[in-house]
Symmetry: D2
Subunit: 372 residues, 4 copies
């Protein structure tokens, strides 16, 4: 099988570089088109990221830029005609968007790509609350790809579409919630406190002066995202083809930035509905949870989406973030809650599972379903 | 007024050194007796801590050992006769206990001092759940000193007694809770997630391998303390002279160790009873809160026990832990909670307000009330 | 004595804020004029730094902005007429320059102030290699103030002048070198490796992604400064009124950025000329070293410019940077060198001794000598 | 080919765990015997390290304990008879020693193993200065295996022998020195300043209180090792079969502990003899350097022992320590020195290249030469 040629928009930023790195030996996709800001346009990709390569030798063992990608000429992401030329030339079947611009600019630019027939798998928050854009976690709401034909119809788009990836802060608890929900346990409310890595703020992101021997108990906009996005992901598409958000659980999020490079940790207290699982049942449900990406053996799917650790002091970001290609959520400290029903700690790698890796898994889902 | 001569048990450990440092220019108390393990006994205090002085030049500007303390000969803390000799010689009116031993050993040793007529103000957890031992936060339950005559009667003690200081993890939210309670706002439940400094584990404490680019979502025994101790502090003494713990709030605590040297941070979501203050009212109550230590101008009392910050991103440990001699609790991010009623972030210096400084403030209260 | 009214240019940046903080209770100087970029102009100083105050509660116990400074209206630093108005109104006798602009802009702007009659004590590097501008470390080359009349004559300036402060990286070894030189020990060569705090890069400065669990063995331009600036400071003014740089020592500097908030550490190996002091002699010279600021009891002068520590593992940045108001250099590990003659470790607080505090000490020297 | 059965002494410590991890899929060796302190003896290896596993998910992608090793019963390392039983049973052809005991104990215990016929590849420092024990860096002094027959003869040993690995602090500059020496460039002197990771101190090692927002400019014994060990490695075996240490270069080492988890960095200034290479020549020599492990394709050999980076700000520990299976030395900032001839920065992974990985590479060398 020849590989599907893909483009990366915003290819020189932190998440863009992670896409390049993770796609370097991908069995289905091959990066054949890169675009960024006008400043980088015209340079080879290797030149464009010289002096600002963030990932060498780290990031779950991935490193370096393949020669073929290094030689690609960076195009101006704002110049859609370049992408269309590439598409015609068979070098750009769809794009990953890791654009770093004003939200409104991203919104209209991603729409322009989709309207022109280039599917967009986006990391940006711009379209997360666009009603007919699916916000995907491949193990949780893979059926939300049903929104794609609806979106095309709504917009009069032919081949293009837009799907998005949720915020990195919710990855460490949304899949565990879903695993419980689908076993019939309603979840009414939860209080979550996150301790988030600095890479979540991009680059240059958090000044080191603000984080050495310190933490910052605030991340602009993050608590709202952490409280609302799970409700869209857990929503269902009604007969009119409208995605109706879930009404529960009510979530209260406290989001903190801590001196950790990669890996977001979440402390969760949650309340079930009338039917309450035992602690052992919760562990069993999470340990055994598998979904479409596992069943279909998508290349980026972790063998187990949720890894349950029994040690008292796990998960920990440096020690667990890279579990199963940095694509698994690791949970631990599953115990009764003195205020609600259960408590636990969840952890996921924010720039892999929570960003580029999650986006690639979504694309694998889209390919499986024939959308790309 | 000549100063009251005091002893420090466990004077060479991290908290013990902090006592020596904070008492170096105290207007009421003077360190004239130091005791530690047998290993240090017989050495001058300066010799005993050589190569393991933890505080030089840091800790809210306090530094160094005064000459007079440096020359004191360290006695064996297990040898009560030494303390009694010092007491007779007018060199030890009462002791601060910062002992680091097995809990049972501390328990009986502190009792032995008290029985022999030497009052003990303890930092250790050994007697926190001893029914007739007051667990004091001077601004909150100063009236719990009423337990002292009861304790003496119970035990047949003459001049001695034992009072204790609560765990450092609860300091950043218990005083704020109390300020609301005494204005008539019941608090039913709260979920708190703490991010605690490594100095809370003593020395050597947390291995650096475990905390660089990492955090540990577990501290042995800390969650139980964080959930239970506030109930004793908020308890009341009934007509039989028995301290009855408060039955509310129900607390669910998640305790985390983070790469911060000093300063414990707590993210709190809380639920009031039927009567609910507005956010503005909460801010006003906290800003204006003063108690006996402020009214009586105790030397170690912060001018304001609770400092309210309006910035979106405060409090932060490195920037706020030293506020008002490191004795104030700084709160911020006071906002409505989507699950309960309000949310906020509290911060206090764990080895000063939460340990040695808090102990000294308790001793100032005891002197004010004539117990020492 | 009424205080001398001073201005701070670049008052809203990291070093500017440090000036405001350190001058808040200064016995000789009072901040009565603040200027910054056009963006801040017109706001009160309190407003201008809201949300970007870097120093609360830290920095050697200094904190906060006094009410009087908070209410000052920030002027546009580029608009010299504002400063002249202030000067006429008796609100700006001289200025501290903590400007953050292009080097050339700073150079001409500082010249404009001086030409207009406003003396400039500058933190910027712009005029460090201006031949007739003294680069002062008050304990080392206080006699270089003799360049001021020469500079005025050269430039046709009346009351104004420019003096500068050297780079923060050289503070931890230049004073020790000078102490040895003035006892008659020639120093031929030295190799120095620095480990520098992130605050040296200003704000936002070093991205946290680059420094967590990491170090960066490169700081642009820093090695050149570290090698050359000591030679100017150690230079002498010849009969023609020209400052002739010292020709020795030859310095090889390796400059590294490490995950430390404040405090630059330097590991130095040095070679003497024919006459070589013993290790004990070196310690004695450094311990006993005093200079004009000590003799004249300048308010910001440390009691001892050089503190010698005997412990094997000192100095350390977090434990020693605040020594003596953060104005002392702490040295330790003084021992024979296997390649040259002696080795040692030096440490100084980069934003206090190495920046704002050093600038204030220079101003105290200038006042003592009658230049301001 | 069936694999050679190997034992690990001190298998439960930090370096011991790294051996287990790195050997988990080794093509030549298989861990079939594990020994540790009496405390662990009798437990399964999985049990013995439960709650003190240091490496999960980190360390160059290696993780976990294979099932077969996890089930091995830990023996008492002091009980040689157990190892001999294992040897007879074909489960222990030689041992890696990662013992953590008093130096004298290690010394005699390793001798006992060797005398009994079990070859020892040691990580401990005990035998580094034993005259007839080779201290190996496989790319540098592979010919020092010639000491093995001499050692056997000296001691009357039959099959057993002892070889050792040098200290982790010298790995980042000794191979580069050798590459230059073998091209005919004498090196007379060098000054090196190291910034060493906390994992070099083992576990629990450095208390986090001592390293957060801090560094420690002292590591006991490390400077002496850093100055002396290269001279043994660069030594030659004379006609009497005696290893004569090199007399040059003279080394002055400053060793610092910094807040980095893994990866030692060294800043080096060095002086050549009369014949001096250009900077370009140095880069070429290092880039092209290969040695026996590369030529013979040893499984743990890095493709290039020395990786030359051209970026101004590399190498950096978090970004470069894992280069080429964490077995390469990365060098950068190769430039002229203002005091000596050239300067550079070297970096290597201290617990892989500098400990367990280096030991395994030595064992591969020994197998290649037929000693095991």
């Amino acid at each position: 099988m020849s590989k599907i040629p893909v483009g990366v928009l915003g290819a020189t930023g932190m998440v863009g570089q992670m896409y390049i790195s993770l796609l370097s030996n991908h069995p289905w996709f091959e990066v054949t088109y890169v675009a960024a800001s006008l400043r980088s346009a015209g340079k080879s990709y290797a030149q464009a990221v010289e002096g600002r390569r963030h990932l060498d030798g780290s990031a779950a063992g991935k490193s370096g830029i393949g020669d073929s990608v290094g030689k690609l000429i960076v195009e101006d992401a704002n110049d859609l005609s370049k992408a269309l030329d590439a598409q015609k030339a068979g070098r750009c079947s769809f794009v990953f968007s890791a654009l770093e611009m004003e939200k409104d600019q991203i919104k209209s630019l991603e729409e322009a790509y989709a309207a022109a027939g280039i599917p967009v798998v986006s990391n940006a928050s711009a379209h997360r609350w666009t009603a007919d854009a699916a916000m995907l976690i491949a193990e949780v709401n893979h059926h939300h790809t049903d929104l794609i034909p609806i979106q095309r119809k709504n917009r009069g788009w032919d081949k293009g579409f837009i799907v998005v990836k949720p915020n990195c802060s919710i990855q460490s608890y949304t899949t565990p919630l879903w695993a419980l929900l689908q076993k019939g346990y309603e979840i009414k409310r939860l209080v979550v406190s996150t301790m988030q890595a600095v890479s979540g703020a991009g680059y240059p992101g958090v000044p080191s002066w603000d984080i050495i021997d310190n933490l910052v108990p605030y991340i602009g906009g993050e608590e709202e995202k952490s409280e609302m996005e799970p409700l869209k992901i857990l929503g269902s598409i009604n007969q009119e083809g409208v995605l109706v958000n879930a009404s529960e659980p009510k979530i209260s999020a406290h989001c903190n930035r801590v001196p950790v490079s990669d890996g977001h940790t979440a402390c969760v207290s949650l309340e079930f509905g009338a039917k309450k699982p035992s602690i052992e049942e919760v562990k069993k449900i999470w340990s055994e949870f598998k979904s479409l990406p596992q069943e279909q053996h998508f290349p980026s799917a972790p063998e187990r989406p949720i890894i349950v650790r029994e040690e008292a002091n796990r998960p920990q970001p440096r020690k667990d973030r890279d579990a199963d290609k940095a694509m698994a959520v690791t949970v631990g400290r599953i115990r009764p809650c003195t205020v609600f029903d259960i408590r636990f700690v969840g952890l996921s790698h924010n720039t892999i599972r929570g960003a580029a890796g999650g986006g690639i898994l979504s694309a694998e889902l889209l390919k499986h379903k024939g959308f790309i």
